[in-house]
């Protein structure tokens, strides 16, 4: 089977007129030469800070915005701006779905189903199937959408995204506007879609990503900076940016100072902090897990210290997110200087 989604050199540049001088045209690069392949069947987290270009990318994929350059393919079919037939295989949920408030949930689902040229019978069967899947109370079908809570609207939005049985579901920050219970419910729904659909899920809430996604792409300033399975990225980052926790007996302050001084000569290890109770707990940051694992225990023994505990802390997504995005920002600052 083809890749579910393929972005090739996708670029979006917005032109804005300068406030001070109308003749000057400012260009904002919202998405910068983005190349990304999302395999069929994955639950893909599309991560980035606010303003990183996530929503602009999703808008181009769903035909709401025209790419300045580049191409988009859904299961091998090229997406063309303004041609709905090219993106009909996508189910889309925007961050805040806006429905026609004069309609009932049933009327809106039927409108969408009929736009997708489904028969009324097929729509009825599909609604039954979806409502079971997402645990939506069928009695609410006859209620006006204007009476729905935000969480209910989000559920209805997911039902709308699934009504035409698309292969690819795109969810734009589906949990960001919800309370903890609504968030948990939405995450459970996304989990229930696993194996049935390919799901792309944009967010900056990393807890949600760790709970539901198997692969992630991280973008910053419109460019892709990380892409792969969460485990691969974690192990890659753990090798590069690990935290090392060491516990030694609290016996000799002088020896400890001498040891910490000796550590300074290695540029791949940096001392973070220490805590002292029964024992002394030291934390180090290392950019080379392997070397640190060889050198540190050796130095501890050479300095006459004994080792109670020595462990590497696995990098979590938050560390990876902060480290990866801030390195881009600092590179840009250096370039400006």
């Amino acid at each position: 089977m083809n890749d579910a989604l393929k972005l090739v050199n996708l670029t979006k540049i917005f032109s804005t007129k300068s406030i001070n001088n109308n003749k000057t045209e400012n260009k904002i690069i919202a998405v910068n030469n983005l190349n990304l392949t999302i395999p069929h069947g994955s639950v893909y987290g599309f991560l980035g800070r606010n303003g990183a270009g996530k929503t602009t990318t999703l808008k181009m994929i769903t035909g709401l915005s025209k790419p300045t350059d580049g191409e988009i393919y859904i299961y091998g079919n090229k997406i063309e701006f303004g041609k709905p037939a090219s993106y009909k295989n996508i189910g889309f949920l925007p961050d805040v779905p806006e429905f026609y408030s004069f309609m009932t949930a049933r009327e809106y689902l039927f409108l969408c189903g009929r736009l997708h040229k489904m028969s009324d019978n097929d729509i009825k069967n599909k609604i039954r199937e979806i409502f079971e899947l997402i645990n939506f109370d069928k009695k609410r079908l006859k209620n006006k959408i204007s009476t729905f809570s935000r969480g209910m609207k989000q559920k209805l939005g997911i039902a709308v995204a699934l009504i035409n049985s698309p292969d690819l579901i795109m969810l734009d920050e589906p949990t960001s506007a919800l309370d903890p219970i609504g968030r948990k419910e939405t995450i459970n729904i996304i989990n229930s879609l696993r194996g049935k659909y390919t799901v792309v899920f944009s967010t900056h809430i990393l807890n949600d990503v760790e709970r539901v996604c198997d692969r992630i792409a991280l973008i910053e300033k419109g460019s892709l900076i990380l892409d792969g399975s969460i485990n691969d990225i974690k192990s890659k980052y753990s090798g590069l940016h690990s935290v090392l926790n060491v516990e030694i007996p609290a016996n000799n302050k002088l020896i400890l100072d001498k040891f910490l001084e000796a550590i300074k000569e290695f540029d791949f290890i940096s001392y973070i902090n220490s805590e002292e109770d029964e024992n002394i707990k030291l934390s180090f940051k290392t950019s080379d897990r392997k070397k640190a694992g060889e050198i540190l225990p050796k130095m501890i023994y050479e300095n006459g210290l004994s080792l109670i505990k020595f462990e590497f802390e696995d990098a979590n997504l938050e560390d990876i997110f902060i480290s990866a995005t801030s390195s881009i920002v600092s590179q840009e600052k250096e370039a400006v200087i």
Binding site: F102, L111, L115, H116, N164
Partner: protein, 256 residues
Amino acid sequence: MFFKKEIVELIKTVKGIVLAIIFLVLGISSPLLTKLTPEILKMALADASPEEAQVLSAVMSAPSSLESYSQFFGNFNSIGLLVVIIVFAGIVANEKSKNTAAYILTKNISRTQFILSKFVSSVVFVFVSLVLAMGSQILYTKFLFDDNLIDIKYVMLYFALLFLYLIFILTIVLFSSVITKTVTSATFFAFLIFIVFNILPSVPKIGKYMPSDINNFGIITQAKNIGDLAVNIIIAVICLIIFLFSSVKIFNRQEL
């Protein structure tokens, strides 16, 4: 399918109902007012001095079917057209500002289909409302003034031209709604374009060919015939096609 949604929306949000009721009221009230105004004045004259009564009686003419249509023409141009602009100004802008357009357009519907559904549904509603106005105006006038001053054939012709003029107004409203992002700015632009088209007839040489002249009371009185307005009709049709085509083209390029 989307056309059906538009019709249901106009009914459920009461906009279409308001339009129909106002048109109906215009059709009923014009002959009634024409008939009752002299009666009301007569009652007022009961308390007037003989000199004042004489002057007012001389000014007042006997009400006729012609006056009933003249009253309708005046009322419709001041109220009817404004209601059409206000009811339909948000037809696209409202969907853009509320993001409902961006959401529904990710489903299997083209932007051309989206715009044309809105246009056709507004034309259908204006047609139904105009039929109500025309029916009540003709029936009440016939009932209240049996003077045979008006040939019904020319009344029908007048309403046909008024319908064409309303379609032209609807394309102005649609265009304004497409180029703006809020209902307020759409209403403002629609009024602006409408006023410009109402000022244009006063421009020397070209003024007499402007579309607004097809809404012409002279058709009823036979002071004007269809041939006199042929150029105006052609220009009105060309303008409405341009506004409609531009609306579709612009909306097809818009980022939502």
